[in-house]
C-alpha cells in the first residue's frame, strides 16, 4: 500500500512536469502571435480598402441582410460580412468591449447603442471620424448627430433614431370630449373625465417603463427634462438636486401614490406596458414607435386596434421632452480597411437606404426629410409626432462610466417611485453619487 502511494506520487510528478513543459510551449506560441498582431494594428487615418465586417445586434427585422446585399452588389471587392451579436443590448456591448480589449480586427464597423458612444470613444475603441467626410450630417436631425459625438468630436454616425410617444385611447377621449393632453396636468384631468364614463371606470390612467432597468433611466430623464430640469448639464456636470427635477420626480411618485399610475406599473418594461395597453387596461401609455404596428393589429392580439392614436409626450407644465434612443455606426480602432468602413457607414446612413429601411422595418430614420415624405406618412401615421419628439429629445448622460451612472439613476428613481425614499432625498443622494462618478 505504502509503496503504491509513492509510485503514484512520482507518476503525478512526471505528469505535471510534462504538462507544464507542454503548457510553456503552448503559451510561448501564443505570445508570439499576439505580439505580431499588436504591431500590425494602430494607424488611425481612414485608410485601406477591402472586405470588412459589420458587428450588430441580432437582426430581428430581417431587413439588414437586404441592406448589406445592396452594398455588396455595388462593391464586389469590398464585401461586408454581418457578424450577428446577441439580441440583448448588454450582450452586444460585452462582445464589442471584449473584442476591443483583445485589440482584435474581427469587427470593422460597430452598431452602437446611442448611450455607448462616450465609453467607446474615451477608451479609444472607436476611430474619430473627420466630419468633412460625412457631408450629409447637416441634413440629419441635429439631436441624433449629437449622440455620435464625444467632447464635440464625431465618433459615430446615427443610422436609426427613436423617441418616446404618448399612446392614448382616442375612442375614450372623444367620448369624454377632451383633446389629447399636452401637459401632465391636462393628462390627469383627462383621465378623471374618462373615469367618470361608465366604460372608463376600471381603466388605469398612465404608465411608462418603471421596472428597475434602462427603461427607468429613460422615463426618469423624461420626467426631469419635461419639468425643465437636467440630469447632466451642458457643462458635463450632474445637476439633479434642483426644484425643477424635484417637481418632475414628485409628479411620477405622486402618480403612483394616488393611483394615477397603476401599482403594477413598477414592474413594467416595454412589453408588459404594451400588453396592458393592448388589453385595454391603460388610457395613456408612454412607449416607443414599435408599439404602433403591434397595437394596431386586427388579428385579435390587440383589443384596441383602431381605437388609439399617438401624440408627443406631455411635459409637467408644457411640452414634454423625450429621451433619445437609436443606433449609431462607428469604426473599430483596430479594424483594417477603414476607408471601406467609412464608405459603408455613408452608404447605410444615406437617405435612400434609410427610406428603404423604414419602409420594411418602421425603424425611425435620422434624415429630417423622410419625416415629411407623404407616402411614408400615410404608411406610418405617427411620423409627425415622432419627428416632434426626436427634434426636442435629449440624450441620456454622455459619460464614460455610463453603466454606473444609469445604475445610480435607477436606484434613486426606483426608491422614489416605490415610496421607500422621499423624492427630495433620492435626488440629493443621486447628486452626490453622480458627482463622484462623473469626474471630467
Amino acid at each position: 500500500m505504502r509503496f503504491e502511494r509513492s509510485h503514484t506520487r512520482r507518476a503525478a510528478f512526471v505528469a505535471v512536469a510534462s504538462s507544464l513543459a507542454l503548457l510553456a510551449t503552448a503559451c510561448g506560441g501564443d505570445d508570439g502571435s499576439g505580439g505580431g498582431d499588436g504591431g500590425s494594428t494602430g494607424g488611425g487615418a481612414l485608410e485601406g480598402r477591402g472586405p470588412i465586417t459589420f458587428a450588430t445586434g441580432k437582426d430581428t427585422s430581417g431587413n439588414l441582410t437586404n441592406q448589406v446585399a445592396a452594398w455588396n452588389a455595388q462593391h464586389p471587392d469590398e464585401k461586408v460580412e454581418i457578424k450577428e451579436l446577441p439580441e440583448s443590448a448588454d450582450g452586444q456591448r460585452q462582445q464589442m468591449v471584449q473584442n476591443a480589449q483583445a485589440k482584435s480586427d474581427a469587427f470593422s464597423v460597430l452598431n452602437l447603442d446611442v448611450v455607448w458612444t462616450a465609453e467607446f470613444a474615451a477608451n479609444r475603441w472607436v476611430t474619430p471620424l473627420p466630419e468633412d467626410q460625412f457631408p450629409d450630417l447637416g441634413k440629419l436631425l441635429p439631436s441624433t448627430v449629437d449622440t455620435g459625438k464625444y467632447r464635440d468630436k464625431l465618433y459615430a454616425v446615427p443610422v436609426t433614431s427613436d423617441g418616446g410617444l404618448l399612446y392614448y385611447r382616442k375612442d375614450l377621449l372623444d367620448k369624454a370630449g377632451v383633446q389629447p393632453p399636452k401637459t401632465w396636468e391636462e393628462m390627469v384631468a383627462a383621465c378623471q373625465k374618462v373615469k367618470a364614463l361608465p366604460e372608463g371606470k376600471t381603466i388605469g390612467c398612465y404608465s411608462g417603463q418603471f421596472e428597475k432597468y434602462e427603461g427607468l433611466t429613460v422615463n426618469f430623464s423624461e420626467a426631469i427634462n419635461g419639468a425643465g430640469g437636467v440630469v447632466v448639464g451642458d457643462d458635463g456636470k450632474p445637476n439633479v438636486d434642483t426644484p425643477e427635477a424635484l417637481a418632475g420626480l414628485t409628479a411620477l411618485a405622486e402618480g403612483f401614490k394616488s393611483g394615477f399610475i397603476p401599482k403594477a406599473a413598477i414592474t413594467y418594461k416595454e412589453e408588459e406596458g404594451r400588453r396592458a395597453f393592448q388589453e385595454g387596461n391603460l388610457l395613456f401609455h408612454r412607449n416607443w414607435p414599435y408599439v404602433y404596428a403591434l397595437a394596431g393589429k386586427t388579428d385579435g392580439s390587440s383589443k384596441i386596434a383602431g381605437k388609439f392614436a399617438v401624440a408627443p409626450l406631455p411635459g409637467l407644465k408644457g411640452a414634454g421632452v423625450s429621451t433619445l434612443g437609436g443606433h449609431n455606426y462607428a469604426i473599430s480602432e483596430f479594424a483594417k480597411n477603414k476607408a471601406t468602413a467609412a464608405d459603408f457607414i455613408k452608404f447605410m446612413s444615406s437617405e435612400e437606404r434609410q427610406k428603404a429601411n423604414i419602409e420594411k422595418t418602421s425603424q425611425a430614420p435620422t434624415w429630417a426629410s423622410l419625416y415629411d415624405d407623404p407616402a411614408l406618412n400615410k404608411q406610418f401615421p405617427y411620423l409627425a409626432p415622432l419627428k416632434a419628439s426626436i427634434e426636442s429629445a435629449k440624450s441620456r448622460p454622455k459619460v464614460v462610466k455610463y453603466g454606473d451612472v444609469t445604475t445610480a439613476i435607477q436606484e434613486a428613481a426606483y426608491g422614489a417611485l416605490s415610496g421607500t425614499t422621499p423624492p427630495k432625498d433620492a435626488l440629493s443622494q443621486l447628486q452626490t453619487k453622480l458627482s463622484s462618478l462623473i469626474t471630467q
Partner: protein, 354 residues
C-alpha cells in the same frame, strides 16, 4: 479507477514480492504519467490557469482614470490589496454585506427546504406502486430544465397579471424589492433542485437491503423509528453528497435571481451578481476580487461541511470500490450503493466545476 483495482488485485497472484513489483510499478507509473499528462494539461489550462490569472487580476486596476482630453488612461496598475479593502469599506461595504447575507440566507433556507422535500420525493419514488416510472420521470422534469428557462417560466408566473396572483386572488408585485421577491426566488429554486436531492437520495435508498427492515419489523419498530434508525443513517452518505453539491451550487447562485427578479435589486442581490456587475462595467480587478472572496467562502463552507458531517466525497469513491468488489466476491450480497452514488456525485461535480 479500474487501474487501481487491477493493481490491488495483482500482487496476490504473484508470491515473489518486492523486486518484481517495483519494476512493474515503475513502468506502469511512467506510462500512467504519459497517458495522464494530456488530461493534466487540459486541467491546468482550464482550471489552474484561470484561477491564477483571476487572483493576479484582482491585484490590478485599469481604465478608471480619465485624462484632460477625456480619454481613459491606458494600462493597468498594480494596487496590491486595494481592490479587496475597497470591497469592505463605505457604500461598497454595505452592498457587499447585503449580498453576503442574501447569499448565505438563500443557501440555508433553500438547502433545508430542498433536503426535506427531496428526501420526501425519494421516499415516494422508492415505494413500489403502479405508475412509479411516470412519477419518477415527472419529478425529474424540473431538474432537467435549464435554470434560465425555469427562471423565465417563474417570472411569467410571478408577473403582475400572472398565474400566481390569479391563484391567490391578490396583486402581489413579486419582482419588486422586499420579502416577496426573496420568496419567489426560494420557491423557484426549490422547485427546480429538490428533485436533484431526491434523485441522489433515491440512489442511496435502493442500496438498503430489505432484510434490515424486516428485522426491524420483527423487533417491533414503527415506521418513524425505521426511518430514523435505519433509512436516515444508511442513506446518509448519499444524502450528504447531494446536500454538499446543493450548498456549493446555491452559494454561487446567479441566474435565478438575475432573471426572475432583476439586476441591482438589493433584496436578492448575491455575491455572484456583484462580481458580474463589476465586470460588466469593465472593472475587472474588483470583479476578480469579488470572485476570489466568493471562491474562498465556498471553499471554507465546503471544508467545514465535510469536516463536521464527514461527507467523504472523494474518499468514498476510491476506498469503497475495491471493498465492494471483494465483498461481492465473498458473499453474494447486493453491491453497496457507494458506487452508484459516487458516480452520480462525480458526474455532477464535474459539471459544477466547469
Amino acid at each position: 479507477m479500474s487501474a487501481t483495482a487491477q493493481l490491488a488485485e495483482r500482487p496476490s497472484k504473484q508470491p515473489p514480492k518486492s523486486r518484481h513489483r517495483t519494476s512493474f510499478n515503475e513502468g506502469t507509473g511512467r506510462l500512467a504519467a504519459i497517458l495522464l499528462s494530456p488530461t493534466l494539461l487540459v486541467l491546468a489550462l482550464v482550471v489552474v490557469y484561470p484561477i491564477i490569472s483571476a487572483l493576479r487580476e484582482s491585484l490590478y486596476t485599469s481604465g478608471q482614470q480619465i485624462d484632460e482630453e477625456g480619454f481613459v488612461v491606458e494600462g493597468s496598475q498594480f494596487v496590491g490589496l486595494d481592490n479587496y479593502t475597497a470591497i469592505f469599506s463605505g457604500e461598497t461595504g454595505e452592498r457587499f454585506w447585503n449580498a453576503f447575507y442574501n447569499t448565505t440566507f438563500f443557501t440555508v433556507t433553500m438547502v433545508v427546504l430542498e433536503t426535506i422535500l427531496g428526501v420526501a420525493m425519494a421516499l415516494v419514488m422508492h415505494k413500489a406502486f403502479k405508475g412509479r416510472a411516470i412519477v419518477r420521470a415527472s419529478i425529474l422534469v424540473p431538474w432537467a430544465i435549464p435554470t434560465v428557462v425555469s427562471a423565465l417560466l417563474w417570472k411569467w408566473i410571478f408577473q403582475a397579471d400572472g398565474a400566481a396572483n390569479a391563484l391567490l386572488g391578490t396583486q402581489i408585485l413579486w419582482s419588486t424589492e422586499g420579502w416577496q421577491s426573496v420568496l419567489s426566488v426560494i420557491i423557484a429554486d426549490t422547485w427546480k433542485t429538490a428533485p436533484f436531492i431526491g434523485l441522489l437520495t433515491l440512489a442511496g435508498l435502493q442500496t438498503i437491503p430489505d432484510e434490515v427492515y424486516e428485522a426491524a419489523k420483527v423487533d417491533g419498530a414503527n415506521a418513524w423509528q425505521q426511518f430514523l434508525r435505519i433509512t436516515l443513517p444508511l442513506v446518509k452518505p448519499a444524502l450528504l453528497v447531494a446536500v454538499l453539491f446543493r450548498i456549493l451550487d446555491t452559494l454561487r447562485i446567479f441566474d435565478l435571481p438575475f432573471v426572475l427578479v432583476g439586476a441591482n435589486k438589493d433584496s436578492v442581490e448575491t455575491l455572484s451578481m456583484l462580481a458580474y456587475d463589476e465586470a460588466s462595467n469593465t472593472r475587472y480587478g474588483p470583479a476578480a476580487a469579488y470572485a476570489t472572496i466568493l471562491f474562498l467562502y465556498v471553499a471554507v463552507v465546503a471544508y467545514v461541511f465535510v469536516k463536521l458531517l464527514g461527507a467523504d466525497i472523494l474518499g468514498d469513491a476510491v476506498k469503497r470500490k475495491p471493498n465492494g468488489r471483494r465483498r461481492r466476491k465473498d458473499k453474494d450480497a447486493a453491491p453497496p450503493g457507494a458506487n452508484t452514488v459516487a458516480m452520480a456525485g462525480s458526474t455532477h461535480g464535474g459539471g459544477s466545476v466547469a
